[in-house]
């Protein structure tokens, strides 16, 4: 199978317009004849469900949580980008496009990223109309702030809870369609399998997490908006339920998985404290607007931060990157924090932390202004660490946060399985090898509100699929397979708990496939993962029964998938013999320890095709063509 990205011809700025004209339409009266399944109710899933229902389609929406409002988009803090140029500071669609392409270290598609920048402005308008309480200036105009990787202020925000407010906006729109009976909502459902019948995505198998019963649902098209796979590292800023299972089930049914090695390690998280730790907490990147990052100049300096004089502090980001200073992109900030700690200059009990200091901003602006911008973040920090950041600098360290890789999709957001569309973090398309801050919310909502409503219509008009009954034999086979896998997990009754396995998997990946990667370590990781997976299926202890509300069983299923997916991730990491963005292979770096790309050999998307459990997946390459920007070594000096 040859990958066809379906990027329209013509000048970059006209592609989307032209494409929208060329897409087939579904007659308004016919839309109600089509059923669409949407899995996930984060920004992408909720906005897609609501918008498709508004257009007249019959939508069935599924989520893991007890309410669609709890999807993990809710935890996004800092903001959402748009090229409004309200600040008159030189922003434009072209600049947002360029910053995103460059921020992604030239590993994303020009056409997709340009479209994202184009629709960014409509997203803000839509959210304001929904009553999202964005921050305002005194005159009542929308306020903006700066974010990493950009030299303009284009980030819209609602205190440190932008994701929450945008998600509640989309949840409101979704709720309106539920009330109108255009969306049927299924909560506490875990997607276990994708149904592919006659080569097309036609439904899903889900587990009702309360009763434990498996259910079969058919549709004319399936949308996955199931988020990223960051929890493969065990410790991450993702929510506890975030998982790769739905995407991985699609991969096993023929959807290609693209660039799984592209994971984002966010520079400003609260450092790890103890072995019991269940998750990591992000401190928004927006804090780098006013906080200054530093470490003591002398390695091993154990004095408290207040005792270290200005002349003894190393503001290493400001020194090394005078142009962007503390606002360098995330990958650069994370790698430099690690470098400082590797040199023995880390602070705190574990020496795996750097300071983020608000002393100067507090002196300049006063506590009231700082509290208005970041109050809830400072409070959260104090609750977790018992340190008061108004008085003493925060201690921060990088943590796994977002995954740029995901299921491969074409320009229409359709995977390699016809009728299977993938939105938001679950797809791979827009962020290359490093996502800029405040771009995830933008992409999730762009996909759901403004792209899928056009492209899925064209698919349905063209394919006009026949109705499928849920007693079709493919449904029954999948149902029985899922049931058998659940029974097997429960029956092993081994000695190690699911958490215990996931913790070990996470540490294998963090050590060998994290911020800094080496070929020898990657090979070792592959072996360790295989051994751990084999042990899992002989020694896992799940407990309880399958026909019950059994949270251990939910997790056991997800960890079983992580144990397979992680091998694909390491395979992809080994395959990409270059460094780019968040993917840093130590063999490929500049004299100044920056990521060194190899555009001759690796200017492509790596898309992996499943070949059965015992065979190596097959690599397909989509070469990336840059017709509008020049490939350069990224510089933030």
């Amino acid at each position: 199978m040859k990958l066809d990205s379906k990027i329209p011809d013509g000048p970059l700025s006209e592609k989307w317009d032209k494409h929208r004209f060329e897409l087939d339409l579904v007659n308004p009266a016919n839309k109600k004849k089509f059923e669409i399944i949407v899995v996930g109710t984060g920004l992408a899933g909720a906005s897609a469900s609501a918008t498709l229902a508004e257009l007249g389609y019959e939508v069935k929406t599924f989520c893991i949580q007890d309410s669609p409002r709890r999807a993990h988009s809710i935890a996004a803090q800092g903001g959402i980008n748009a090229a409004k140029n309200y600040q008159n500071d030189g922003d434009s669609i072209w600049r947002l496009f360029y910053d995103t392409i460059k921020g992604g270290d030239f590993r994303s598609r020009e056409a997709n990223v340009y479209r994202l920048a184009q629709v960014s402005n409509s997203i803000i308008d839509q959210c304001v109309a929904q009553g999202v309480p964005f921050a305002r200036e005194y005159g009542g105009q929308l306020a903006n702030r700066s974010f990493g990787g950009a030299q303009v202020s284009r980030t819209f925000y609602a205190r440190g809870q932008t994701g929450q407010q945008l998600l509640l906006g989309a949840y409101g729109a979704l709720s309106r369609q539920i009330a109108a009976e255009k969306v049927r909502l299924f909560t506490r459902r875990d997607m276990l399998d994708l149904m592919v019948i006659d080569g097309k995505a036609r439904g899903i198998i889900v587990r009702n997490l309360i009763s434990g019963n498996l259910e079969k649902h058919s549709a004319d098209a399936v949308i996955l908006a199931t988020g990223g796979y960051g929890n493969v590292f065990y410790l991450s800023t993702n929510s506890m339920a975030s998982n790769v299972s739905a995407a991985f089930a699609a991969y096993k049914k023929g959807a290609f998985f693209a660039n799984p090695c592209f994971t984002q390690i966010h520079p400003t998280c609260i450092p790890v404290k103890g072995s019991y730790q269940s998750k990591l907490t992000l401190m928004s990147e927006s804090l780098r607007n006013d906080g200054r990052v530093w470490v003591p100049k002398t390695p091993g300096d154990r004095r408290s931060p207040g005792d270290i004089k200005e002349s003894e502090r190393d503001y290493y980001l400001e020194k090394k990157y005078p142009g962007f200073g503390n606002l360098v992109p995330r990958d650069v900030a994370s790698r430099n924090a690690k470098l400082q700690c590797d040199m023995g200059k880390g602070v705190g009990d574990t020496k795996l932390a750097v300071y983020l200091d608000f002393k100067d901003a507090l002196k300049r602006d006063g506590q009231d202004i700082i509290a208005r911008k970041y109050g809830n973040l400072f409070e959260m920090y104090e609750k977790i660490t018992a340190d008061n950041p108004y008085k003493t600098p925060m201690k921060i360290y990088p943590a796994v946060h977002y995954t740029m890789g995901g299921l491969w999709v074409d320009y229409n957001l359709m995977s390699t399985i016809p009728g299977l569309f993938v939105l938001g973090e679950a797809n791979f398309s827009d962020h290359g090898s490093n996502r800029l801050g405040a771009s995830a919310l933008m992409q999730g909502l762009a996909d759901g509100y403004f792209i899928i409503p056009y492209t899925i219509g064209s698919y349905l008009a063209e394919a006009s699929p026949e109705k499928i009954a849920v007693d079709h034999k493919e449904f029954n086979i999948s149902y029985l397979n899922a049931e058998a896998r659940i029974k097997k997990l429960i029956s092993i009754k081994g000695k190690r708990t699911v958490d215990n396995f996931q913790r070990e998997l996470g540490s294998i990946l963090w050590e060998n496939c994290g911020m800094s990667r080496k070929n020898t370590n990657l090979r070792k990781a592959k072996k360790l993962i295989k051994e751990l997976r084999a042990e899992y299926w002989e020694n896992v202890l799940v407990g309880g029964s399958e026909k019950d509300f059994n949270q251990r069983l939910e997790k056991a299923w997800r960890v079983a998938d992580f144990l397979e997916f992680s091998e694909l991730m390491v395979t992809d990491t080994l395959e990409r013999q270059e460094s780019c963005g968040g993917h840093f292979n130590e063999d490929y770096q500049t004299d100044e320890n920056e990521a060194l790309r190899d555009d001759k050999l690796f200017c492509h998307v790596s898309a992996w095709e499943f070949q059965g459990n015992r065979r190596k997946p097959k690599l397909h390459k989509e070469s990336l063509k840059f017709e509008n920007v020049e490939l350069t070594q990224r510089s933030y000096k």
Binding site: Q65, R69, R70, Q126, P133, Q165, K383, I384, A386
Partner: protein, 256 residues
């Protein structure tokens, strides 16, 4: 008590509500929580206890949780009779064990409210909150065609007040803490957000009647100014939002 690595630890006695299904028979079961680091969160303490329960072959304690950073609203339980435990403005996942002392007995129960049926142990069904939102907790705009974001200026103090209300995480602590099991803080917060913002005005009357009607229909009680909801709300949402809802309700009921 200090571990070899200097970590401060405590031992606790837990009494946890156990209920297998929605069938309302349940009981308190005792567990020991030992060597609990004071830096752990409350939910991490439950994780540690659950790992031991699993090894002993019993059914672990079921509890809802997801983001573990105080924003998704999944977690929540009555801890020694207080919703989300003893700390002000804190969700259960952000409550840390440094607020407990060695030897404490900690009683953990699910939300108690007529409209929130227990699913299992500490897990309750809060879909009633979704139903209240479905009754009108939104502004009726379809995607597309919205005017420029700056077309309607919103004074900063109005935006701030709307945001104060909009911070609600829908955890259910307000209804659980209220002696009348009232959902007025939850409902009032959403009504306030849209009553304050100009975008919400066209539907204010319809919205308040529909949402209050749904709230009553679902079995939530009325407000008698006990202010327990405000005291226990992890986002410290003010009962001024209930007053605003009542004002809007009266206005709408008098001249519909």
């Amino acid at each position: 008590m200090t571990k070899a690595n200097g970590e401060k630890c405590i031992n606790l006695k837990l009494k946890v509500w156990r209920q297998k299904t929605k069938d309302p028979k349940g009981r308190l079961e005792s567990f020991k929580a030992e060597n609990i680091s004071k830096d752990m969160s409350f939910l991490e303490m439950l994780d540690v206890v659950n790992e031991e329960i699993i090894h002993s072959g019993k059914d672990p304690i079921a509890f809802d949780h997801d983001c573990r950073e105080g924003i998704c609203g999944s977690c929540g339980a009555m801890v020694n009779g207080r919703a989300h435990g003893p700390e002000k403005g804190t969700t259960l996942c952000q409550l840390h064990m440094r607020h407990f002392s060695n030897g404490d007995t900690v009683v953990i129960e699910p939300w108690r409210s007529r409209a929130f049926k227990v699913v299992k142990d500490l897990v309750v069904d809060r879909s009633a909150f979704d139903k209240i939102i479905q009754a009108g907790g939104y502004i009726s705009v379809n995607t597309g065609g919205a005017p420029d974001g700056n077309a309607i200026p919103v004074p900063q103090e109005v935006a701030e007040k709307a945001m104060d209300a909009a911070e609600c995480i829908g955890c259910g602590a307000c209804a659980a803490a209220c002696p009348n099991a009232s959902a007025m803080l939850f409902t009032g917060a959403k009504i306030s957000q849209f009553a304050l913002l100009p975008q919400g005005h066209p539907e204010t009357k319809k919205r308040v009647l529909a949402m209050v009607g749904k709230m009553d229909e679902l079995g939530f009680g009325n407000c008698t100014n006990e202010r327990e909801c405000e005291a226990e709300c992890p986002k410290e949402i003010s009962i001024i939002n209930i007053a605003r809802m009542n004002r809007e309700f009266i206005k709408s009921a008098i001249s519909p």
